[in-house]
Symmetry: C2
Subunit: 697 residues, 2 copies
């Protein structure tokens, strides 16, 4: 990757002969951007443009260039690429559109390029990209003119579109240092770019615009590693149903289920933002403020109403108000009427006005908050005014002094009002201080700083292995692979061999056999339809609970038969399943093999409300005990699992272990595409899988 | 209100003698702001400031001024107010702090002023306010200097803080026309301000910053009336637990439960925004774009990635993509390679570049979308560039022509990139076109325009009256008022007299009496603890279900007694309640008398998950049939009520009527403070209240 971003020489294949207005000539753009390396335009017509010799072919260029940029029509791209291979080049950016982003033929062309890249080891970025920007080297491969920025942040962007790099100035709050548009990612992709930027000393914050991914494990590995060193922020688009379809056709990405991406970003320690405004604020906060080591903030405000807005934002964003530093309250209230109160948020206005010491009170509050071990960051609301009558309200010095006196760099997020851009620069010259557009955005900025701190220091999963009863498991696995599906007692049997407790039960067809089975079990019983034709048993009226004795068993069997017959007079009923009726709360446990990321575990509320409330937590497999417990804690039904109104809680250790065992099952059975335990009945007495199905196809 | 906003003469009581920097002299500020009316400073020291005679007392002013502004220390405010009353003034603004915002004594002073205002008919704004801004009259009563704006919007603000009017320039996107800070609202409040602005021809959009309200019905009436004429936007702060506490101490407001405010704003047709950034965007959208009459938008974009972001935003905000206008696709694709596709969102870049007709394609798309009856508004993403090489990418003319040709004012929200402020003004000179900071904000702008259209034309509730069995009801009501609480069969009996079906059941103590009752009912039965000592029966182990016969009834009674004894050996068990066991889904219906807004109806999922999922819809009473149905439809369990997996839906007509009857009950029993029916069992066979309690205290 390094020489994609810092090439000493670049061949531009397909550069137009025209220059100037309307020509979109990339050689011209590179020159205007100030690139200092060697530029070799390639065009069969030859000649000269902008003082540069135009080569008729790549093979004529007198050196093996570090990078080629191809922008010919899509049908001529494969030949141009072969020219590059023959010329011994190692890195190619393909700007041209019309590949997986367009139609089947385009997808075919792209696959052909990708497989030649793999064979030859030549790395390809694109197609359908604007390429790279590296402001540290005055490099910009875009065919549209972007003015070279006067200053830029140590922030790097990875995107699946060029528009973000074109628009980085108003999208990313300020210009950024580097940008990589991976386009259709036929070879170089987000994971490659992350690998490079993770080790890049010129990059302090990484921001990703992502529509979809193809190499899931590689992304998880790269992002997971890099996010322990520097913040990684992602704006994942295409998360709506309509957006996903559009993304598929835009960059040919497999967009995937959005909640899988949530699980991926959580596991990889990546901060997900929901909108481009949030992206901008995250860049601003993380590049200027850095980390915030805890959730406790102190607020100094010139408006009580603003303090209330801070409180609302804190509660929503997981921050809290820290304690007032010792002695500060007394110091601030000295000499004031006794009706003036002060707490955190510190409303400085009445204190400053009545005591005629606005600036001093503000500076003191800031300093003490920054110094306090009970405060992790500060939110400040203040005036910036050019009104000559209020010059003394300006607080430049107060902030600078507070920072100096505190001798630390705890983040200070601010909302200055009556602002002007010049004032912002003046305040942001103070280290670790950032100005935001609104109060809520400033609080969110602090929240981003806290979240990335937590992600950097997040738990490292330690998945366990378990003993498996291989002999017991083997016939079930054989049957499952053969038939594609295991249901009922078969599925429960396979899970039991992995140590997941299952309700005891038997499948049988005749009443006599069911009765015989029942005699070995403890009533009450449950009778269910069994067999492949009846996956959604309840839709068939195929479940009777609370069967107390053998005559009720007979009636139950007859009732199910009648229910099925009423819906379909001809369908064959192969078997019934009789189980002991267990009591407990219904939990759903599931596995789904995502085509990009592999097995994803789901854990949530089971039963009829599963679809309604979608109270489900997801994690990428493997899941260890700590993560399993965190999954449960994140559920809304968590308080019910803990026990409420005198009811005892469920056997949490057993439940956590079942999740760990299911994760182990997934790792041992990579070809299982789907697995549902629904319900797993959980109670103080233990946990039992009552119904399950496992799918291989 | 009118003369608060447009006084010909103003007395300034407590104006400092000092002027200039640091003096916060409001006479000076008014003069600098360009006020053309007569200003009379009042200060016992007399003399002259800024060329104005200073009067020693209000009584010495040679005319009865339209408005007095008091800014003396809080202890001197009552006397100053009495002076104004004696001088025959009709309107007073009290700037001073230290009232209900401070302590008990301050609250007492405020109450005293409020009651004198009521007695004398003198209207008071404040205390704890910056007063009013009316830029149409160069009026600003604030004691801080605000530069007079060069231009301002026909938008008016009502706030419970002065900071928004001070900061309106960066909070409200641009300066606004009028602002009213109602402060502690001891007399003039948000409802009064709404009444005035609703009829004010200089106000097209009303924005409210609200911490809390005291006069709920008056607000509902005023906002409900005004919102049918012009958009009313509210930023309700103090919605978090911490924020609510802070708001209470800030302006002495009763903040109330946030979901009650949601119900209030829904009923009043008020658009609630969640952050000040949303407030700014709403002001921008509503003042520039106006209404959007449906949810179907058309998108023209220079970036496919941007189209995807639009799709995500639309789905989240309740908008959809309209159909491509007839013929447009064919027109755009003329002469292009067959791999180029086009749909809505229209990705104009490949079309414009390959066809070399970017501007024409953009203009055509805009025009056809605007003209199409299937499109309600347009979202446009485009370049604005000062790069000399790309001058032809600028679309000023294309937008202006499209607007002209379309002959309508459908809203056009845009995200221009590589923007500059100057460019924004150029584009916003086109009628009904607004530029936003990000794609998502632009889409949200359209969503605001659509929401306010729907609110303006919202349903008018037509609550029904029902016949009541007064004779049956009377003893229950007498008992309830006497004891403060009705529970069990008493509560169900009272509801039954209002036509709300209740499970039949009887309360009795002895086993013999329970057996006798059981003989008249259909098994299975439910036995419950009854009596005031056992409000949460399940916590006492006080419910046994599925009782099939009389011997099981005996066992059930013994079990409940044992459960209670295990918890408290001494508590008296007065009675048990025996009911037929009904089947159905559990619904919660409730009433709560909010101290500000009166009865609020709640309807949601009942049973053990009520607290967990909080799947509850709330409406201000009265609730008519249409509203009742909308409440049910807004629940997440709605699909379960409709019926799923072959299960029949519940008797919806019966359920809707029960809600209407409960609303009627509330209107007839205004002194009921709380009522819960939990559960109401609902099924295809009907709906029955199974347990209820009604509270009067």
């Amino acid at each position: 990757m390094h020489k994609f971003m810092d090439p000493a020489s670049v061949a531009l294949i397909g550069t137009p002969r025209r220059t100037g207005a309307g020509a979109f000539n990339n050689a011209e753009m590179m020159l205007r951007y100030g690139f200092k390396g060697r530029i070799y335009p390639v065009n069969p017509a030859g000649g000269e443009i902008l003082g540069l010799k135009v080569y008729c072919a790549v093979s004529e260029i007198p050196e093996t260039v570090d990078l080629a940029v191809i922008s010919v029509g899509r049908d001529r791209v494969p030949a141009a690429f072969e020219d590059c291979i023959r010329a011994g080049l190692k890195r190619v950016i393909i700007i041209s559109q019309g590949f997986a982003d367009a139609d089947e033929r385009g997808r075919g062309l792209q696959d052909q390029i990708a497989s030649r890249a793999r064979e030859t080891g030549v790395r390809v970025m694109g197609p359908n990209t604007l390429g790279v920007v590296n402001n540290y080297r005055h490099l910009n491969t875009a065919f549209v003119e972007i003015p070279f920025p006067e200053r830029f942040l140590p922030v790097s962007l990875i995107a699946q579109t060029g528009f973000i790099q074109v628009a980085s100035r108003n999208l990313a709050w300020r210009d950024i240092g580097k940008a990589i548009d991976v386009g259709n990612s036929c070879d170089v992709d987000i994971a490659d770019a992350l690998d490079y930027l993770g080790d890049d000393p010129e990059t302090q914050v990484i921001v990703i615009h992502m529509e979809g991914l193809k190499r899931g494990p590689e992304f998880l590995e790269a992002a997971g590693r890099v996010s322990r060193k520097k913040p990684v922020v992602v704006l994942k688009t295409g998360h709506s149903t309509v957006g996903a379809k559009a993304a598929l056709s835009h960059s040919g990405s497999l967009v995937g289920e959005d909640h899988v991406y949530d699980a991926v970003f959580k596991r990889a320690g990546v901060l997900r933002v929901r909108t481009s405004a949030e992206m901008r604020d995250a860049i601003h906060a993380l590049s200027v403020l850095g980390e915030m080591k805890g959730p406790r903030i102190g607020v100094v405000t010139v408006t009580g109403a603003g303090g209330i807005m801070c409180a609302d934002a804190c509660e929503e964003l997981g921050l809290t108000f820290g304690e007032m530093p010792a002695g500060l309250r007394e110091e601030l209230l000295k000499g004031l009427p006794d009706w003036v109160h002060v707490s955190n948020p510190i409303d400085i206005w009445p204190i400053g006005m009545l005591g005629n010491r606005y600036e001093e009170a503000y500076r003191l509050s800031l300093t003490e908050l920054l110094k306090s071990p009970g405060i992790d960051g500060v939110m400040a609301i203040f005036f910036v005014t050019s009104a000559p009558l209020h010059a003394e309200l300006n607080l430049d010095k107060a902030f600078a002094e507070a920072r100096r006196e505190s001798r630390n760099l705890k983040p200070i997020a601010t909302w200055p009002y009556m602002e002007s851009t010049a004032a912002i620069d003046r305040f942001e010259a103070i280290p670790g201080l950032a100005c935001f557009d609104t109060i809520e955005q400033a609080v969110q900025g602090l929240s981003f700083c806290h979240q990335t701190h937590r992600m950097k220091n997040r738990h490292r999963p330690q998945p366990r292995s378990f003993a498996v009863d291989e002999d017991f498991a083997r016939p079930f696995i054989t049957k499952g692979k053969r038939e594609g599906l295991l249901a009922g007692q078969d599925a429960l049997g396979l899970l039991a061999s992995y140590g997941i407790p299952a309700a005891s039960g038997i499948e049988a067809k005749s009443l006599a056999a069911l009765r015989a089975a029942a005699k070995g079990m403890k009533p009450p019983f449950v009778l269910k339809l069994a067999g492949r034709g009846f996956l959604h048993k309840s839709e068939w009226g195929g479940i009777v609970t609370g069967i107390g004795n053998l005559s009720e068993l007979k009636a139950a069997r007859e009732k199910i038969v009648a229910n099925v017959r009423a819906k379909d007079p001809n369908i064959a009923i192969d078997a019934f399943q009789i189980q002991e009726h267990l009591a407990g709360k219904e939990i759903l446990l599931g596995l789904k093999r995502d085509p990009v990321f592999g097995h994803v575990m789901a854990c949530g509320q089971g039963g009829i409300y599963t679809e309604v409330f979608r109270d489900v937590s997801r994690e990428i497999v493997p899941v260890d005990g700590t993560t399993a417990r965190a999954m449960l804690e994140s559920l809304r039904i968590w308080p019910l699992l803990l026990g409420t109104r005198g009811e005892p809680g469920v056997d949490m250790d057993a439940l956590v272990e079942i999740i760990e065992r299911l994760s182990f099952f997934a790792s041992q059975n990579p070809d299982v595409t789907e697995l549902d335990i629904n319900p797993l009945l959980v109670s103080a007495a233990g946990c039992w899988a009552v119904d399950a199905r496992i799918i291989w196809r």
